[in-house]
């Protein structure tokens, strides 16, 4: 053990002397801090937008009070009044933005057909989508493996190529102790960085000090361990530094770039999902078709859904709001199967990616961190579900005014339902990802150990 610590301490001296590595490590630290800043800024921006929405809604109400100074038809109010379904982030979202930058974090709603409104703001800036997020999770999942590769590609080959290994192994030092001390030093360095960045990010984001702190750290630690395992496996092969570097970068490309890309293509093909645009167009066609359909037919279909309003007088006028909202409602009903297929399909895709994530620890780590941060697809689908329920609540609020011909007063605005939704972490998904990462790390370390034992280190 004494020899181990002598070698460990010597590694610190070697590291300090390797200016390039010091520079690279400092750079990763700075990049990590930028990632924290980026993630926190993005979430703060979203929070600020969300905080401004109630004022916007109040402003809209004030405008409506001016437009309709006395009692008004609820149909007019429902048409002009805008309210919001809001998706608040968890503090953890700052560390792992997940899909919060591509999916809307609020939806502007009126009493009209829901489906078209749910997906109306799903457009993203393609340039921004191309560059992606630069949050702490990105730094950990994509860039830390490169740092580990830079630190470990010449773990043993450096001494061998410099000719120092013969003199080292002529001392009472086993190759296993030497490699162990070198790996342990690099592991301590990288895990120190992970710890510093994570703690800074957690303090900055003000995450609650609960079990998720441990889960985040465990995910980051085991993911890094996996990459150290890969480096150990390649080291055990005992090839030269150039070979090791190419092999390690190759593994990085395969596991971090190629497999996730192929997984995306495979999952898209295996779980086809109707496009939300298709859904919106179909709903819109149905709604527009409502103008030309006989009013009795429309109302009968609507009353089948809301029999409590069946005693409403027959519509003889050219236009009444209750008829208008009835065919809006039926527009949503007509795309209900598509809506279910769309959300189920997205969920199935997500589940399939999760099942196949053992193919790439990078995917397992990213999905786990997103699940922990409540910024993944299930969180977004839960928000869409919550927004839909809210829209139904709005309908339940306005329909009695419409169908019982009750006038809408200024005081009624205060009775209107409001919406709030905060995504929740999914520790079970994160824990499952941690399990996969542990197995992956165990496999590579095990394979490395077998190879290391099978190929005794020859210092020549």
């Amino acid at each position: 053990m004494r020899t181990f610590w002598i070698l460990f301490a010597a590694e610190w001296r070697h590291f300090k002397a390797a200016k390039g590595l010091v520079l690279l490590t400092s750079l990763v630290l700075l990049v990590g801090l930028y990632g924290i800043y980026y993630g926190t800024s993005e979430i703060n921006r979203q929070r600020q937008h969300l905080a401004e929405l109630p004022a916007l809604a109040r402003h809209n109400v004030d405008e409506l009070k001016v437009k309709f100074p006395g009692e008004a038809d609820a149909g007019e109010i429902g048409y002009y009044h805008t309210t919001f379904a809001v998706h608040h982030p968890t503090p953890w979202a700052s560390l792992s933005l997940g899909q919060r930058d591509v999916n809307p974090y609020y939806v502007k709603l009126r009493l009209l057909g829901l489906q078209g409104q749910l997906y109306a703001s799903e457009n993203v800036n393609p340039t921004k989508a191309l560059s992606g997020n630069f949050d702490l999770a990105f730094v950990l999942v994509y860039l830390f493996p490169l740092l580990i590769i830079a630190l470990c590609f010449n773990l043993l080959s450096s001494e061998k190529e410099q000719g120092i290994l013969t003199l080292l192994l002529a001392q009472p030092v086993s190759a296993a102790t030497l490699v162990g001390a070198k790996l342990a030093f690099r592991l301590a360095l990288v895990l120190g960085l992970v710890l510093v960045l994570s703690v800074v990010a957690m303090l900055w984001a003000q995450v609650p000090p609960d079990g998720r702190v441990g889960l985040w750290l465990a995910l980051a630690l085991v993911y890094c361990l996996f990459w150290f395992g890969v480096a150990f496996l390649i080291t055990s092969w005992q090839r030269n530094s150039a070979f090791n570097a190419v092999a390690l970068v190759g593994v990085w490309l395969v596991l971090v770039v190629l497999v996730p890309g192929l997984l995306n293509v495979f999952v898209s093909a295996a779980r086809p999902v109707p496009q939300d645009l298709e859904l919106t167009i179909k709903q819109r066609e149905e709604i527009h078709g409502g103008w030309d359909k006989p009013k009795t037919e429309t109302m009968n279909r609507f009353f089948a859904l809301y029999p409590q309003f069946r005693d409403t007088a027959t519509i003889k006028e050219r236009f009444v709001w209750r008829w208008y909202y009835a065919f809006q409602h039926l527009g949503d009903q007509s795309v209900q199967p598509l809506t279910v297929a769309y959300t189920n399909g997205l969920r199935q895709r997500y589940d399939l990616v999760n099942r196949l994530s053992w193919l790439s620890p990078a995917v397992a780590a990213q999905t786990s961190l997103n699940a922990l941060a409540g910024s993944d697809l299930p969180a977004h689908l839960a928000f869409l579900g919550s927004a839909s329920r809210y829209h139904y609540a709005l309908r339940a609020f306005y329909y009695p005014y419409l169908f019982h011909k009750v006038a809408f007063t200024h005081a009624d605005f205060a009775k209107e339902p409001t919406h709030t939704f905060t995504s929740t972490s999914e520790p079970a998904t994160a824990a499952s990802g941690l399990g996969k990462l542990l197995i992956s790390a165990g496999v590579v370390f095990g394979a490395g150990l077998l190879l290391f034992r099978a190929r005794p280190v020859n210092p020549r």
Binding site: T3, I6, L7, A10, R13, H14, A17, A18, Q162, G163, I164, T166, L167, L168, L169, A170, Q171, P172, V173, S174, P456, N458, P459, R460
Partner: protein, 235 residues
């Protein structure tokens, strides 16, 4: 009798070459055995087998009575090794390199002691605090000698140790070997340097194609006779 260094039917077969064929050799404490032979004769293979860097195909090598293959770490407490081309950590000073290797060997020397060892090996005092990256081959060789001496080993394995040393330093090294053997250290030196072998060796052995073909005490050989003997076996 337990020899400090011993080979029993030591054989090493590589896939394409028989590097060592049945070496039998015993070296006692205080003896300086010089192994002569052309490149590829098996000298370095023999040293590698004693160091445990390669495993024998058959037979066994012993250091201080311990079988090398079965006690790979323990035997290294009893031996010191100076390769033909001593390579050290270039970013550390001579002092730091000696300190590190001594610590690994189990010795925690004070700086003044480390300086003494380096000085004893012939390294100029002003160089001890310089990075080894700035050293010449001869200076690195001197640090290698200091590392070996500071280890106080019972066996000194040397592979062309004077390569890169100037004549004065080589001479000082010969004196050092004499001093160490006088203190009971067994020295096993592979070399091409017939002059040095006859000067410091107590016995010389000539190796040809992996076989130790002749062993003689140097006390009965003058330089000319050793040269004739060497040429006889190697040409």
């Amino acid at each position: 009798m337990t020899y400090i260094l011993e080979a029993k039917d030591l054989r090493k077969q590589y896939p394409d070459k028989l590097a060592l064929q049945g070496l039998n050799l015993q070296i006692e404490a205080g003896e300086v055995f010089c192994l002569l032979g052309q490149n590829g004769a098996g000298k370095s293979t023999t040293i590698n087998l004693f160091l445990g860097f390669v495993q024998p195909t058959s037979g066994a090598a012993y250091i201080n009575g311990l079988e090398v293959a079965k006690n790979p770490l323990e035997i290294k407490r009893h031996l010191a090794y100076i390769p033909e081309n001593v390579m050290l950590y270039p970013h550390l000073t001579g002092l730091e390199n000696l300190g590190l290797f001594s610590q690994l060997a189990g010795f925690a020397y004070a700086e003044s002691e480390l300086r003494d060892y380096l000085e004893q090996a012939g390294l100029p005092p002003e160089a001890v605090q310089r990075r080894v990256g700035t050293y010449s081959k001869g200076m690195r060789q001197k640090v290698g000698i200091a590392i070996a001496v500071a280890k106080h080993a019972k066996v000194l394995l040397l592979d062309e140790p004077t390569s890169g040393l100037d004549p004065k330093a080589s001479n000082e090294f010969s004196e050092l070997l004499g001093k160490l053997s006088g203190q009971g250290t067994a020295v096993f030196m592979a070399t091409h340097d017939l002059f040095r072998a006859r000067e410091v060796g107590t016995r010389v052995g000539i190796m040809r194609e992996g076989e130790l073909v002749d062993v003689r005490p140097t006390s009965f050989l003058n330089a000319n006779e050793l040269e004739q003997l060497y040429l006889h076996y190697t040409h």
